[in-house]
């Protein structure tokens, strides 16, 4: 399926991309991230969390949403 991957903060800076479509044939978040790392080696070793449907999820979660957000450490306030 087609996944829209969104990058925020330092991640958008590193990938020079705020949003892109990735064709994804596997199932879990970690498998999606493997594709992402291959496209954007600069993300390797960076600290971030993944949100599906506006909630943080862990690496083993099945990618059921078409929109996935990669979120660096929060720094509001």
């Amino acid at each position: 399926m087609n996944i829209t991957v969104k990058y925020f903060g330092v991640l958008a800076e590193l990938t020079q991309c705020m949003e892109e479509t990735i064709v994804f044939t596997k199932s879990t978040v970690i498998e999606l991230l493997e594709v992402v790392y291959q496209k954007h080696p600069t993300l390797n070793g960076k600290n971030f969390k993944v949100a599906l449907n506006n909630e943080l999820v862990d690496m083993g979660t099945i990618v059921s949403e078409v929109e996935v957000a990669l979120l660096p450490p929060f720094s509001g306030g």
Binding site: F8, A12, E13, N54, A69, L71, F74, S75, G76, G77
Partner: protein, 153 residues
């Protein structure tokens, strides 16, 4: 301006304000509560951008971005949880998006209750939840236009 348009379209109040939060905006918000005569205590938290020095360079501004959809959901959850925990009359949260210069205000949290005992723990809870739960990202811009990414600890 963007904020106002968004408010009208969505028919609900937006948390996000473009640029710094002015003292006039805060005053207006305070004045609006004078008709609510069951309120005995207000507590206001203001976050202000610091001109921190890092390796001899001074922060001149923070540029805030957000994942707005998730941020609005989290703000809503924080609101609900706060009203659940504390006996408040009302509560308002505003956070800047875009550029906020050092010395300017980027976060405005306002809680009101009949009695003062309620407002102290409530304001601390709200501020800490915002810092921990809401996807907002601050880029500290230095005077020489270099930058670093902020991280809440």
């Amino acid at each position: 301006m963007k904020t106002l348009i968004r408010m009208k379209n969505n028919k609900k109040k937006s948390v996000f304000i473009d640029g710094a939060i002015s003292s006039a905006f805060i005053a207006d918000s305070i004045a609006k509560h004078q008709t609510k005569t069951s309120i005995g205590a207000h507590n206001i938290f203001l976050g202000q951008v610091r001109a921190d020095e890092v390796n001899g360079k001074k922060v001149s501004a923070i540029e805030y971005t957000t994942y707005e959809e998730m941020a609005n959901k989290k703000f809503h959850e924080i609101r609900e949880a706060t009203f659940e925990k504390y006996n408040l009359t009302c509560m308002h949260i505003y956070h800047s998006i875009g550029n906020v210069n050092a010395g300017e205000i980027c976060l405005f949290v306002f809680v009101s209750a009949t009695r003062r005992k309620e407002v102290f723990p409530a304001i601390e809870f709200v501020v800490n939840e915002i810092k921990a739960q809401v996807p907002i990202f601050g880029k500290e811009v230095f005077e020489d236009e270099s930058h670093q990414w902020k991280s809440n600890t």
